[in-house]
């Protein structure tokens, strides 16, 4: 079998066509740029060196000139001039002037005042003598003399008297001082100042001096330029820079260009690859699509338009072709499937309608349906019956329905409907509706609106339930609850008033009995005295009972503000208050875990725990009386109580099951005073009332002879 030659890919084709040209052009541009840059840098370097050499030369000329000017200036100083004439007195001031006075800019240079033959008059050096100097005559004639050479810098200015040179001021820098004077801040790599004979007076860079001597003439390693120092014939300034340093930029540029070239070629390769890939992907997808149709006959798989505009157009054309094919080639099976589905839907609908009719008819609930577009209102027969509408009565419309609403309910019902139609909540409303006979029926109306795609209400349909009976019961319950509340309040008020008012006469009875004992004891026999004592004791007990009753009556919901209370603090306070009592009874408290914080009235909580703890200690025969106070954060698992359950457990005498409920009755004592001490028997009543006012409950578990555990809960818990 012959194999046709494999055509090369778009990527390879583009690559081979484009790449050689790009490489060639890049190399050419790179070479041109590098050459041009080299030329530019060389020219710039030369210009810069020239410019800098000129600047440095001017600067050095300025410094040298400054020294000469200083010599002139010193020579013109009237004290110095005076010194020439004042041979006897000058020693006093010239020595000070020359030996100690610092002349700015001269540093340690020698400054000398010499006479007309160059002999020292005053100086900051002791061994100077210019008598043999060749330039003396020139200076005395009025000229300013200077020499700059390997022996240093010498500047001599005449001291003029009556326009004649009568002495001179000489400033001399030795070679080292001259080199220091010539040192200037330079930006070039090296600067040298040379005499006419090429001897260096100053060099900023020792390396440059070496190479310039060794390679006199052409300096391959240095780019350099020279400049005469203006005003100082024979002095030359050389400014130089290392070629390597100067051309480093060009080298870096070459490297940069080469790198750029390689990177750009790589970028071109990637770009070609990417372009080829992006261009061919939609085409490949199109090819896949066509192959799928060919292979499976399915017309479902459309091609996603992507890539260039033309490729979009191609994909869209392909998809339109598929859609057209799909439209014209819908199969018979599909039609059959559609018919069957239609039949099933129809049967389902019929079944549903029958079920609906049965439900409507069988239900005690009335059905209503309001067509918002026509305004027609449908009532089921059951609803009609509820309202007493007969078939003769015209079918009510929405306005006649609303007219039937009880005036007190109408606004509420219409508002609820408006909000529901606006999508703001359910349509679920209780209302009174006027029946045909004029009486009212309580109905619970529930409905659901249907909207079209534009949000317009199409219909509102629902049920109407007769709730007249339930309403009547609820009203009766409300009434009775209010009555009960009033009765309780009256009872509390009565207990409060009675106990309060009873205390006064009771105390009077006790007082009178005391008076009788004190004032008539001599006339009373023993029996009379005993009875009076009994009367006083009973009065006191009565007062205690009344006090407890008063306290009981004061326990009301809201009489103490509720706030966050840390029960650990409450127990600590109680324990502190009972310390003596507990010590006497050999009792101790046990808290297995810290107690939570609760929202409650703090004093009431103290009452609860104090009564339970005192009871646990009081009715206890154990040698060591242990009262455990604890709680279960998860509530009572055996019931549905979710709030924390607190408990106070003792190891006391226990309570017989027969008296389980009696313990909470006020003033009910199960044991004799003599056996277990005094008490009114009101404590647990207080506890129960407080717990209940806090929305909780109290119960107990007990085994006679082993101990009792009181459990209670509080609304809101910890």
């Amino acid at each position: 079998m012959m194999r046709s030659a494999q055509p090369i890919s778009l990527f390879s084709r583009a690559l081979w066509r484009v790449l050689p040209a790009i490489v060639l052009v890049q190399a050419l541009i790179g070479w041109l740029a590098w050459t041009a840059m080299q030329g530019l840098v060389s020219t710039e370097l030369e210009e810069r060196l020239n410019r800098q050499a000129e600047q440095y030369a001017q600067l050095i000329a300025f410094k040298l000139k400054a020294v000469i000017d200083t010599a002139v200036s010193v020579a013109e100083n009237d004290l110095v001039v005076n010194g020439i004439m004042d041979a006897q007195g000058r020693e006093h001031y010239l020595s000070v002037f020359f030996e100690t006075a610092k002349v700015p800019g001269l540093g340690d240079a020698e400054v000398t005042l010499a006479d007309y033959r160059g002999r020292r008059i005053a100086s900051n050096r002791s061994d100077v003598d210019y008598e043999a100097s060749t330039w003396l005559e020139a200076v005395l004639s009025g000229a300013v003399w200077h020499e700059v050479g390997v022996s240093g810098l010498l500047a001599a200015a005449p001291v003029m008297i009556a326009d004649r040179g009568e002495g001179m001021v000489i400033i001399h820098f030795d070679p080292a001082q001259l080199a220091a004077l010539l040192a200037i801040p330079v930006r070039t790599d090296a600067v040298s100042v040379l005499t006419a004979h090429g001897d260096p007076l100053y060099r900023s860079n020792a390396e440059f001096a070496l190479s310039s001597r060794e390679e006199s003439g052409v300096h391959s390693t240095w780019a350099m330029t020279s400049s005469g120092i203006p005003g100082f014939d024979g002095l030359t300034l050389l400014a130089a820079e290392k070629r390597a340093t100067a051309l480093a930029t060009v080298d870096r540029l070459g490297l940069f260009l080469a790198t750029t070239m390689v990177l750009s070629i790589a970028a071109v390769v990637v770009a070609i690859f990417k372009t080829a890939f992006i261009s061919t992907r939609p085409i490949r997808r199109l090819i896949d699509g066509i192959e799928t149709i060919t292979r499976t006959g399915s017309l479902e798989k459309e091609v996603r338009p992507e890539g260039a505009r033309e490729l979009h157009q191609l994909a869209n054309a392909f998809n339109r072709m598929l859609q057209s094919l799909r439209a014209t080639t819908a199969s018979r099976d599909e039609l059959q499937r559609m018919n069957q589905a239609l039949d099933r839907a129809k049967a389902k609908l019929e079944e549903s309608e029958i079920r609906f009719q049965l439900a409507v008819e069988g239900s005690s609930v009335g059905i209503w349906d309001w067509d918002a577009r026509t305004g027609a209102l449908f009532w089921s027969d059951r609803l009609k019956a509820m309202v007493g509408v007969t078939d003769e009565t015209p079918v009510p419309d929405i306005s006649s329905f609303e007219a039937r609403l009880h005036p007190d309910d109408r606004d509420r019902v219409t508002e609820r409907k408006r909000r529901h139609l606006a999508g703001e909540g359910d349509y679920d409303v209780e209302t009174r509706l006027r029946k045909e006979d004029g009486s009212y029926i309580w109905l619970l109306l529930r409905g659901q609106a249907v909207w079209d795609t534009d949000g317009n209400v199409i219909r509102l349909a629902g049920s109407a339930d007769d709730i007249s009976e339930r309403k009547a019961v609820a009203l009766e319950l409300d009434r009775r609850a209010q009555e009960l509340e009033r009765s309780n309040r009256e009872l509390d008020d009565f207990a409060h008033i009675a106990s309060h008012d009873l205390k006064e006469p009771l105390r009077a009875i006790a007082n009178h009995a005391s008076f009788l004992l004190e004032d008539y004891s001599d006339r009373l026999d023993d029996e009379g005295e005993r009875r009076l004592h009994r009367l006083i004791k009973l009065s006191q007990r009565m007062e205690k009972l009344i006090a407890d009753l008063l306290f009981y009556s004061r326990i009301r919901d809201g009489d103490q503000p509720r706030q966050s209370v840390d029960l650990n603090d409450v127990i600590a306070d109680v324990e502190l208050g009972l310390a003596d009592f507990m010590r006497q009874r050999n009792a101790r408290l046990s808290l297995p875990t810290p107690l939570p914080k609760v929202t409650a009235a703090g004093p009431h909580m103290a009452t609860v725990f104090q009564n339970l703890i005192v009871n646990g200690i009081k009715y206890n025969d154990s040698k060591e009386k242990i009262i455990e106070v604890g709680f279960d954060a998860n509530g009572d698992q055996t019931s549905d109580i979710a709030n924390p359950v607190f408990h106070v457990r003792d190891n006391g005498i226990g309570i017989d099951d027969a008296f389980r409920d009696d313990v909470f009755r006020i003033f009910k004592r199960l044991n004799s005073e003599k056996a277990y001490g005094e008490g009114t028997g009101a404590g647990l009543t207080f506890v129960k009332k407080i717990v209940e006012y806090h929305g909780g409950g109290i119960w107990l578990e007990s085994s006679p002879g082993k101990g009792t555990t009181f459990f209670f809960t509080l609304d809101g818990g910890g």
Binding site: E76, D78, N82, M85, G89, I121
Partner: protein, 401 residues
């Protein structure tokens, strides 16, 4: 023996004849050589007029001596060196003069500082120093023994007395001193201060200026503010010009009169202050004047000789610095008499003779005698007078003291 004498007679006679000829020739040569007098003065700088005046006076006197046959049979000759007012040059000049065998004396110039600087060198070489001008007291009172300095000129010590006297006579009591910062200025300060202290007074201000100073306005202001009613000026020509110029620049009611020593005379001073002198009351010390000479006939002769020798002379007004001329003239004659009296040019013997000269009538005064062992100053305050410039710049004596 006779034979020997005979044989030797001819050569000995010949030798003697040669010796006699040589000796006579040598002696005649020495006799005709001039005796040198050195002149060391400012001949070209600011006090060149003073130097020239001295040279003229010396020249006239030398000519007179030479015309009369010289001294010790030898003519006198003046050798001139210019020190330009510069002490260092002066010292070098003195050294040069000292090396000249026939030089007997050196005549100095205007400048006290130069004279002071030269003292050491003069006494080292035993040169006679003739002072026709420099007035510093210490030029003469120099501490050297023997003292080789002889002066026919003002002595500052006496000048101080004279100037203070003049100021007091004119009613001034608050004297401010304006002084050149040199040995002469210090000499003048001492003289004026001592003169004042003798009158139980002292200067209200003492201000100094340097050689190169172009202005002394600050010093004048200081003197004025110190309450001075007169300025006593000791200045070289430049200092004198500055003082007069700065004084003239003040408002009329702030100007002070100036009574000066004579340091600025003998220069182009007047040319430089001609206009300012209309506004400034300037008087200064002088000695001799051809307008009012002590011995008019002598003065006439000298003036006549002056006009013969020097161009442009038509009377006393033509002598620009008459004191310098007159003092130099008298000094040359006094030296001649000393050489004659000593009978030798040996300097120490001439110096000895100078101290022992007899009475002599000079141009300036009658010297009775000019010098003694203890006194080498020939003039005193009786020779001094106050003078001023007239409109033509001629120095005119105001009055005889």
């Amino acid at each position: 023996m006779g034979v020997l004498v005979r044989r030797l007679r001819a050569p000995v006679t010949a030798c003697f004849a040669v010796w006699m000829i040589l000796a006579l020739t040598c002696g005649a040569t020495k006799a005709s050589e001039p005796i040198l007098i050195g002149l060391d003065a400012d001949m070209s700088s600011s006090s060149a007029i003073g130097g020239e005046a001295i040279r003229r006076g010396a020249t006239i006197a030398i000519d007179e001596v030479n015309d009369a046959g010289g001294v010790l049979g030898r003519p006198l000759k003046l050798v001139v060196r210019d020190h330009r007012g510069n002490p260092d040059r002066g010292v070098d000049n003195v050294s040069e003069f000292a090396a000249m065998d026939d030089l007997v004396a050196v005549m100095g110039g205007v400048h006290t500082p130069v004279a002071m600087a030269e003292l050491e060198e003069i006494h080292k070489h035993g040169l006679i120093y003739l002072g026709p001008w420099a007035a510093g007291t210490n030029v003469v009172e120099n501490g050297h023994q023997p003292n080789f300095v002889f002066r026919v000129s003002v002595r500052d010590e006496y000048a101080g007395e004279f100037l203070v006297d003049a100021a007091f006579e004119r009613g001034y009591r608050h004297l401010g001193l304006l002084l050149w910062q040199t040995a002469w200025g210090r000499s003048g300060e001492a003289a004026l201060t001592e003169a004042l202290s003798r009158r139980d007074s002292k200067p209200v201000a003492v201000e100094w200026f340097n050689t190169g100073a172009r202005s002394v306005a600050e010093q004048i202001e200081a003197i004025r503010l110190a309450g001075a009613d007169v300025v006593m000026l000791i200045a070289q020509p430049e200092g004198g010009v500055a003082a007069v110029h700065d004084m003239a620049a003040l408002p009329p009611d702030e100007r002070l009169p100036i009574i000066g020593h004579w340091g600025f005379v003998g220069s182009s001073f007047h040319d430089n202050v001609r206009d300012d002198l209309d506004d400034v009351d300037l008087t200064f010390l002088q000695t001799f004047s051809f307008f009012d000479p002590p011995f008019p006939r002598r003065a006439e002769d000298v003036l006549a000789a002056y006009c013969v020798h020097f161009e442009g002379c038509d009377g006393p007004a033509s002598v620009s610095a008459p004191t310098g001329t007159a003092h130099a003239y008298d000094l040359v004659h006094l030296l001649t008499r000393a050489i004659d009296q000593a009978g030798t040019v040996e300097r120490s013997r001439v110096r000895f003779a100078m101290e022992r000269l007899r009475r002599y009538q000079g141009l300036v005064r009658l010297y009775e005698p000019p010098f003694t062992v203890d006194d080498h100053d020939a003039l005193d305050h009786e020779d001094f007078r106050l003078a001023a410039y007239d409109k033509n710049g001629v120095i005119v004596p105001l009055s005889l003291p």
